[in-house]
């Protein structure tokens, strides 16, 4: 079954928006390969005729009346923010220098 390379782990970490150090990449790649090897055993267990289950119990969409209900105040909503400006979440710059 597929071995997961160091380069692949770096790519996945990039997709998941996590900076991994060289040490972490060295450490993670072989561990993930062992895990993948173990979980790969399920390939072929279920035939094409078996439907997938995303939720164990049947779900139906839940609606409610479109009326205003009490929610968080702006102060409460912002209370855990790393930075706040003019009653808004203050975030680092979104665009790069060249944009």
């Amino acid at each position: 079954m597929p071995e997961i390379t160091r380069a692949e782990v770096a790519h996945l970490a990039n997709l998941a928006r996590i900076d991994l150090s060289d040490d972490e990449l060295d450490h993670l790649a072989p561990q993930l390969s062992v895990i993948l090897e173990s979980v790969a055993s399920i390939s072929g267990v279920a035939g094409d005729d078996v439907p997938p289950t995303s939720h164990a119990l049947p779900l139906t969409n839940v609606f409610r009346e479109d009326v205003v209900t009490p929610g968080l105040t702006p102060e409460q909503a912002l209370s855990g923010a790393p930075a706040v400006e003019e009653q808004r979440f203050s975030v680092p710059r979104i665009l790069g220098e060249e944009q």
């Binding site: 998941a16 399920i42 267990v45 680092p92």
Partner: protein, 503 residues
């Protein structure tokens, strides 16, 4: 005071023999005495708990108690949002976060009058089976401080086992209530999926997570389950049906008569050969004795095979990381939690990457990467898609087994508590602790773990798992209480960790 069960405390409060303030203070004193060694708590709220206890006493004096457990203190796993109290999920990325709202479970505890002692330790974002993945250091097993208390809810189980709290709340995604219960000699219940609201529970895997009771007796779990369970419009997966009569089922079970009950022993999870492997001899011995006690109480035993269960662990470790990697995307350093600047003028993306590197621990990173891989184009069908199909097969095995048996039984965990550090660098070895508990989460069915004795090899607790069909949580309580009563009679009293180990 602290060795009383929640039901006994409630009775003493009702009889006017003690007060909620006295009961709460006794548990706070116990925490001060032993939690340096056990480390079950991440945060203790002495002031808040005593204020809630005083209010409870005032209500009682005015004849206005709110529930059977009004005034009985409780500990809450740090994965549930508590207004005004820190909620870290055992992670550095949420260090210092104070939620502006209560989880529905917490709101119901407060409405029922239970003083909240504090928040309990856990593996980071509930990822683990030993509580060693907490960013704030491991919890230790009260039976042997060099051993793990199970996970992810090791803090809640250890708090109850060490008499730091009569009751606690846990959450169970693949066994995080039941496996800690087994290795600490306590009772833990995973309700039917949707039976207890997930609103305000920081999600690990939405389709698997379920909050439930952590206690020392089956009756206490039933009492607590009735407080926290039932429909919640704030959770769209909440079951819109009344709970079964759980306390009544526990009382009926304790009377000891199981005539007419069919108990299914799961072949794949009850012997060394012919299914899943790795069972400790002492665990299997205590399991067989408990089965014999159920027979003595009148139950009929049938052997049932659930062949897909051997694939449950692999299925789980594809579905869980896939859901977790999506859920944990919300920790982006923008609206709450940690924000790390790699350099002064870093972009939002660079801040996000640096924050997630600094804020997440090894196990969380492993599972996010694994989930990202399982969901990538080109691998999706082979991994996540296949896992969802095997999930169907596991549910079908349960359906077939419940045709032949009213409840299914197995040991809760394959071994007793292992030494701290023993499996920390071997993720697969760690994952194997959950092989008996995972199928219930995949199928959404309820389960309970009841202490079944001490293993001969090491003198450490073992657990007996009882699984019932979805919505039939009352059967777990009936059979659990019957087994508990029979074992207590045999032992002459409850199993208690040796006090000298805690000092």
């Amino acid at each position: 005071m602290i060795t009383r069960t929640a039901a006994e405390l409630a009775a003493a409060l009702a009889a006017g023999e003690t007060t909620s303030v006295a009961a709460t203070q006794a548990h706070l004193d116990r925490i001060a005495e032993v939690d340096g060694a056990v480390h079950a708590f991440l945060h203790v709220d002495a002031e808040g708990a005593l204020a809630q206890a005083a209010e409870s006493d005032a209500r009682r004096a005015a004849g206005a108690t709110r529930s059977a457990l009004d005034g009985v203190p409780i500990a809450v796993k740090d994965v549930l949002a508590t207004e005004g109290l820190p909620t870290t999920c055992g992670s550095k990325i949420l260090e210092g976060w104070i939620p502006p709202y209560d989880a529905t479970v917490v709101r119901r505890l407060k409405a029922a009058g239970l003083p909240i002692l504090g928040k309990t330790n856990m593996d980071e974002f509930a990822m683990g089976s030993s509580t060693e993945h907490s960013a704030y250091g491991p919890t230790r097993n009260p039976w042997d401080l060099d051993r793990i208390p199970g996970g992810s809810g090791g803090g809640s189980a250890a708090a109850v086992a060490a008499f730091e709290a009569p009751l606690a709340i846990g959450t169970d995604t693949g066994g995080s209530i039941r496996q800690p219960g087994a290795v600490t000699g306590t009772v833990g219940v995973k309700p039917t999926y949707g039976g207890v609201s997930r609103y305000g529970l920081v999600a690990l895997a939405n389709s698997l997570d379920q909050a439930g009771p952590v206690t020392r007796t089956v009756l206490d779990s039933a009492l607590l389950h009735e407080v926290i369970g039932g429909h919640d419009p704030l959770d769209s997966t909440s079951i819109d049906q009344p709970l079964p009569a759980l306390v009544e089922a526990a009382k009926r079970g304790a009377a000891g008569d199981l005539s007419g009950l069919r108990v299914g022993v799961i072949t794949e999870m009850s012997r060394q050969e012919g299914g899943l492997s790795g069972w400790q001899a002492g665990v299997l011995a205590r399991f067989q004795e408990s089965v014999d006690l159920l027979v003595k109480a009148g139950a009929e035993v049938v052997e049932v095979s659930c062949p897909s269960f051997v694939h449950a662990l692999a299925t789980y470790y594809l579905i869980l990381p896939a859901e977790a990697s999506s859920n944990l995307a919300k920790f982006d350093a923008m609206r709450y939690g940690l924000r790390v600047w790699p350099e002064a003028d870093a972009s939002a993306e660079e801040v996000m990457r640096a924050t997630r590197d600094a804020g997440f621990g090894d196990e969380v990173k492993r599972r996010i990467i694994l989930g990202t891989y399982a969901l990538s184009s080109g691998y999706y069908d082979a991994y996540y898609g296949q896992a969802q199909k095997v999930r169907t097969l596991i549910s079908r095995d349960f359906d077939a087994a419940f045709e032949r048996a009213d409840v299914l039984v197995s040991p809760t965990a394959p071994t007793t508590a292992f030494k701290l550090g023993a499996k920390l660098d071997d993720p697969m070895a760690m994952y194997l602790n959950d092989l008996a508990t995972i199928p219930a989460n995949l199928a959404g069915v309820p389960g309970i773990s009841v202490p079944s004795g001490l293993a001969d090899e090491d003198g450490l607790p073992t657990g007996f798992q009882i699984l019932a069909p979805a919505l039939a949580d009352d059967r777990c309580y009936r059979v659990g209480a019957a087994l508990e009563a029979a074992l207590l009679e045999q032992w002459g009293g409850p199993l208690v960790p040796p006090e000298e180990k805690l000092s």
